[in-house]
Symmetry: C2
Subunit: 363 residues, 2 copies
């Protein structure tokens, strides 16, 4: 789509030496960035996938059935991949000594994915979504009730695994993240249909609902490897910025992608009256008539058949999608800058590539 | 109601020396048993209530608002009360030494209540309940979405508090309990509308969804006080049997109580096609015509206006409520027997009274 063909240059990129790939450059594409990371972590990721399947089991047959549905739907496993990558970049496990050959990173990556999956199951119930990753969502297949309860199970199971791991520091990071995610989701609910929501409040929402788990996923890697606090903070900062970029692009895609590419229904956010940056940008840039349109469709939830098309036209007129992607690019650049404390390595390069990947999903 | 006026004598009571009060005896009534426990733990319970209010706070205003709604609705705080009682009966904290004057039992009792509250919020969404403890349920007031998400928040907050407490043993017990509760709830969903469910499967459901948290609530008390494994097991056994008795009485009350007494809608289980012991008893004791009635109403969810009254008549004919309460009484007696390893004390006597209380709710 036209609006997605140009991403404004990031403001924060220049100082780091890592500029997110400009559109049309011959830098590796988005899939390549993820493929590179997966190539470096192939065995770890396979072990993580085995751990996920083994640990979502239960004597109650409906639990692995429903969990398998959402796990089989794939997704890129970006969050556990970041835990594995962070741990390995930080040198976990040591080549010798008591931790040699350890697999704590694999188990904790699975925990991160379980927490993510639990929030996805509950999100789809809350949003009444029927599509997830291009397949019927779990709630559409198994019903809302089963989705709520299996989400609860996966969440509890994640904590059981963390307890088995035995690090109170890791437990503190991930339990804090889980509470922050829920706070972000509730805040999102409170801002729904409310066009007086400020941009900063919108950023608070996505910092909670999305970035918090990316922060924890990355930070845990440094903790596992016993790295100094500076590196822990650097990886948390990287994760936070990746998460923000990721969600901003997601919010742009909801108005700009092909359904086949997106793997979920286009215009969902519009129909739900969700307050995202594209909407806020178009609302604030709009004429009196435009604002009346947004008030009717978003605040009063009174939508007609061609309203989504009209919304897309208004966004195109004022560059709302470009503005959103530009903000995403700035966060991606900050993510790359946050990796400064780490020496060059294939994993560091791959993590820099992940920042590009978050943007390139929009191309 | 007539069916509730007579509780069959427990089979397991005689061997313990603690027989649950027979109906019509002049033993203290149910409120007295709880009042006695509350009297012994007044300061602890006040501290626990303060902890609950302080820890359900969040910058996201909707969270304390919704949480206050369900917390204000009261409930007897039976589970945290059991944690406090177990810890104190086991001698926590020691009168001198590093743990003297400790308040870990208060914090962990609050955790137990948060986990319970989270499951209540999700239950009411899953069951589409509109009444809880005699008030409009949170989902009826704030919507299903907020209930799901605030439940998630309270669950995560409970784990944060446990992590602050710092005992991996306690974390293991409560994370296992949380997973078991979710398994029980999913199993209940899987048995819904299915009259081929065996009694033993029904007992599995309530062992998971209800007894598991009572087990953990009591066991944690012994762990806090550093008591030997035998006493830990004894308190777990006590909690398990209390939980089973409690749920069996609850399932009887759903068909036999006044709505004003019950604090929720009578006949909810019937309308939902929930498989509980009163239904299984009436179904198995019924004639061919009766069974056809149960199949139509429970399995096919085809219910007419006077079906609940007919269901109550069938249950009265075969003594289904009495049979259920008799099972409850046997569990209550086992709970009392489980306290054998502990010397006589006011707290032990109060805990014995709690077993009576679970039964006397039905009178």
């Amino acid at each position: 789509m036209g609006a997605l063909a140009s991403v404004a240059s990031p403001k924060a990129g220049a100082s780091t030496g890592h500029r997110p790939n400009a559109p049309g450059s011959d830098a590796p594409g988005s899939e390549d960035a993820l493929t590179a990371l997966l190539g470096l972590l192939h065995d770890d990721m396979q072990a993580c996938n085995r751990e996920i399947v083994a640990r979502m089991d239960s004597d109650v047959a409906l639990i692995p059935q429903l969990a398998a549905h959402i796990v089989a739907a794939g997704g890129k496993r970006l969050r556990p991949l970041l835990t594995l990558a962070s741990a390995r970049m930080c040198g976990y496990p040591r080549a010798s000594g008591p931790e040699a050959g350890g697999a704590r990173h694999v188990r904790l990556a699975a925990c991160v994915e379980f927490i993510h999956t639990a929030t996805l199951l509950h999100d789809d119930v809350v949003d009444e979504s029927t599509l997830r990753r291009g397949m019927a969502s779990a709630n559409a297949v198994f019903g809302n009730k089963a989705s709520v309860l299996v989400g609860d199970f996966l969440f509890a199971r994640a904590f059981e695994l963390m307890v088995q791991d035995g690090s109170l520091r890791v437990l503190a990071i991930l339990s804090r993240a889980a509470a922050t995610i829920a706070e972000g989701e509730v805040l999102q609910l409170a801002t729904q249909n409310d066009l007086s929501t400020s941009e900063s409040r919108y950023l608070d929402v996505i910092r909670g609902k999305t970035a918090a788990l990316f922060v924890a996923a990355c930070q845990v890697g440094a903790v596992l490897a016993g790295r100094p606090e500076e590196e822990e903070r650097a990886l948390a900062e990287y994760g936070s910025n990746i998460g923000m970029a990721f969600q901003l692009v997601d919010d742009a895609l909801d108005y700009a992608a092909d359904q086949a590419v997106l793997g979920k229904t286009v215009g969902d956010d519009f129909r739900e009256g969700k307050i995202t940056l594209p909407v806020l940008a178009a609302f604030h840039a709009g004429s009196a008539a435009d604002r009346a349109f947004w008030r009717r469709t978003i605040e009063e939830s009174e939508q007609r058949e061609d309203d989504l098309d009209h919304a897309l036209r208004l966004m195109a007129q004022c560059g709302a999608i470009e503005a959103t992607l530009s903000r995403a690019a700035a966060f991606a650049a900050s993510a790359q800058a946050a990796l400064a404390p780490f020496p060059d390595s294939p994993l560091r390069r791959a993590l820099i590539g992940v920042a590009d990947y978050t943007l390139q999903r929009a191309r």
